[in-house]
Symmetry: C2
Subunit: 421 residues, 2 copies
């Protein structure tokens, strides 16, 4: 069962918006066994949208469109769909009532609803209307016979949380009723500390022995490599059992660099460890500027083990709030082994936690010296008993340096918690 | 001049990776006047890549491919391109030397280079090789006559900083030599505090009067609306002058909700203000968990005005490090007007800055009560003279609630700095 995703909007073609909707849809489709064959982004141009509909309906049986449904004048998707499927625009009473409810009771906007928002209730009469609990633009479900196959087209608004709600609550249940899906299984392992090509060298024999229906993919990012085994078929239990055997074999070969046998971010893995051990964590960030704290607190329930952070971007704060000695800052500098050690000690004491992690470095584009060029980062993680430090040298731009230093700090913290160092 | 972007990789189709490369390419192309007509994502399947090449070269004169060039076995792009353009694989001496340099001098890997990485130096002999200073996979430039037009195909690695470096250093200069680009101008205004449809109502007459060659687009996100005017043509100066007039007219209509007349994130605007006033900033974050600090420190040079943050995720830290009174936490709760006020005061004192901003709220999915449901957030921003607070009620998921609260806090801080409240 193939699907295509068509995202609509000039903002995608001038790079003003990063398309996160497609990734969400693809993830949810994968879980139920729908393979996204292609993703296409087109501008707010009727003929380009129509061309994409023509092309994708020749390839896939499920076409998801996102975007182009808002109330403003650059939105042309709805009239185009009406024409494409040969319908007539009519006002849907339920949507009209819902828009009124939203404006009066939820958004609490005074006065009458403007014409543009009233128009949200106008839908092609040949569409099945999908209720958008989170916004005013309804989803729409169309069907059409293409090359003797019944193809389903679903149009969703582009606002991420509205699209997500509609997909989960309305689209997936209907697709499940409509089609009989095959079973897809993925098993993902996370490794760190070895490059993609060296991991691949090690798995060369393993990969050569994999049967046709099992695929291995490498997904490198920021010094880690994710390995994903995928298979699909009709017998769910057989498939699960088979892929489990290959997964066990693969992870055994990667024992020394294996971080996890699940597809979870490192900050979530650390959360599980801390919860299990009933321990608490603090962070003391300089060059990562709060990004470690941000990742940790993005995990639901982080307040059970995470107490907080001192983001000591200036040296005064390192001294005043983390008790880093002025002498150390002078002799060794802020980006040094001694400073990050004292930052960990300061965080443990000031925030009263079992573990702490600290960073100090030069993220660029300015601030580098001959001795400490841009990308020089000292990391430290530890507890009252032991503090481990690590020097890394990054070669990316500012944003990617911050992301990489954050991830490396989390990996170091994980090792300390597991007592692997 | 139209371009198409083809992104390659199963990871894009199962949603494991969010495609940021396309946005970067589109932004850079826009600056020089290349219009990205379509973006297509396909899997690691030779015939799907070939089909995309066929289709896009019928539409666009510039085709950029990213991904599928790494050293591992799931990468099939290079042999496919070799076959598609009718070349022969040969070892490029310069690339071979560069790969050796990278492995020995930059990555400092001991021992000989493995076979997979050696293969990076194998390229189709009909390709012009583009030097990848940041990695081992070279870029490749192909040309082919399609429908009597000379079409340029450029294949780039998928690793973002490698792709970005190649695009800027190698691809754009060559494209400029190869084609004569039209002139494209954009003017972007940023508004806050009014919904997309109400902004559109206000601009109804203005938009109706715009000439054919000027387009207006609405880009809503997290309580803000970006408005972009775009025009293209051959006379750069005429075009600039014309669009400046329309832009002035539009921004005059939006005076009361206008945040900026440039396309910059709010944290960068705040940085400019603080630099200009020679003032300093601290943050005190609870529910945003370090994300405000992260955004502020993502801006290069932030250390000139930003001193740091106390991320007080637990109540103990609010008391111990921000001097929030235990009595207030008990009577009003952590998510309250009184608490965020005291957090601002505590941050101003503890971090010794001119301004501070604070957040406390319930981001979900758990932790809500009848009185304070998930999404309840108190914000405060101020200086020694005056502290302003604001209550917001969010309706998204945890991640989007964090992003929205962060943005709203930054907007409040901006108003305080500008003395608009």
């Amino acid at each position: 069962m193939n699907a295509s995703i068509i995202t609509i909007g000039d903002e995608l073609l001038i790079g003003q918006t990063i398309d996160t909707n497609s990734a969400f849809i693809a993830q949810e489709f994968n879980k139920v066994g729908i393979w996204v064959k292609r993703r296409v982004a087109v501008g707010d141009v009727a003929e380009d949208i129509a061309q994409a509909l023509d092309e994708e309906s020749g390839i896939s049986q499920i076409i998801i469109l996102t975007g182009g449904l808002g109330p403003t004048a650059d939105d042309i998707t709805k009239p185009l769909l009406n024409k494409y499927f040969g319908g007539k625009m009519t006002t849907d009473a339920a949507v009209a009532k819902h828009v009124e409810h939203l404006f009066h009771n939820v958004y609490r906007r005074p006065g009458p609803i403007d014409e543009r928002n009233k128009k949200q209730a106008e839908v092609p009469d040949i569409a099945k209307v999908l209720h958008n609990a989170r916004g005013s633009a309804p989803g729409m479900w169309f069907e059409k016979i293409v090359n003797n196959r019944n193809v389903v087209f679903v149009s969703l608004p582009g606002v991420p949380h509205e699209m997500q709600g509609l997909l989960i609550d309305e689209v997936l249940p209907r697709l499940r009723q409509h089609f009989k899906f095959p079973h897809i299984v993925h098993r993902t392992a996370l490794t760190a500390g070895m490059g993609e090509s060296m991991v691949a060298e090690r798995l060369l024999d393993f990969e050569a022995r994999l049967p046709q229906h099992v695929k291995l993919a490498y997904l490198p990012s920021y010094g880690m490599v994710k390995l994903r085994l995928t298979s699909q078929g009709t017998h769910a239990e057989k498939l699960d059992a088979a892929i489990d055997l290959y997964f066990d074999e693969m992870t055994a070969l990667l024992q020394d660099i294996l971080i996890a046998k699940t597809d979870q971010p490192v900050e979530a893995l650390i959360g599980h460890l801390l919860l299990k051990e009933n321990k608490t964590l603090a962070t003391a960030e300089s060059c990562t500027g709060g990004n470690i704290a941000h990742l940790i607190t993005r995990v639901p329930g982080a307040s059970k083990y995470y107490k907080g952070s001192i983001v000591s971007y200036s040296n005064e704060i390192k001294e005043a709030l983390l008790n880093v000695e002025a002498g150390v800052l002078e002799s060794d500098g802020a980006v040094s082994n001694a400073t990050v050690q004292q930052m960990v000690k300061g965080a443990l004491k000031q925030l009263g936690t079992d573990y702490a992690v600290a960073t100090s470095g030069i993220m660029g584009p300015d601030g580098g010296t001959a001795q400490k060029p841009v990308g020089t980062v000292w990391l430290a993680a530890g507890s009252e008993d032991k503090i481990i430090t690590k020097l890394i040298q990054l070669r990316f731009n500012r944003e990617q340096n911050i992301e990489t230093a954050t991830l490396q700090a989390l990996l170091l913290l994980r090792k300390v918690i597991l007592n692997e160092i």
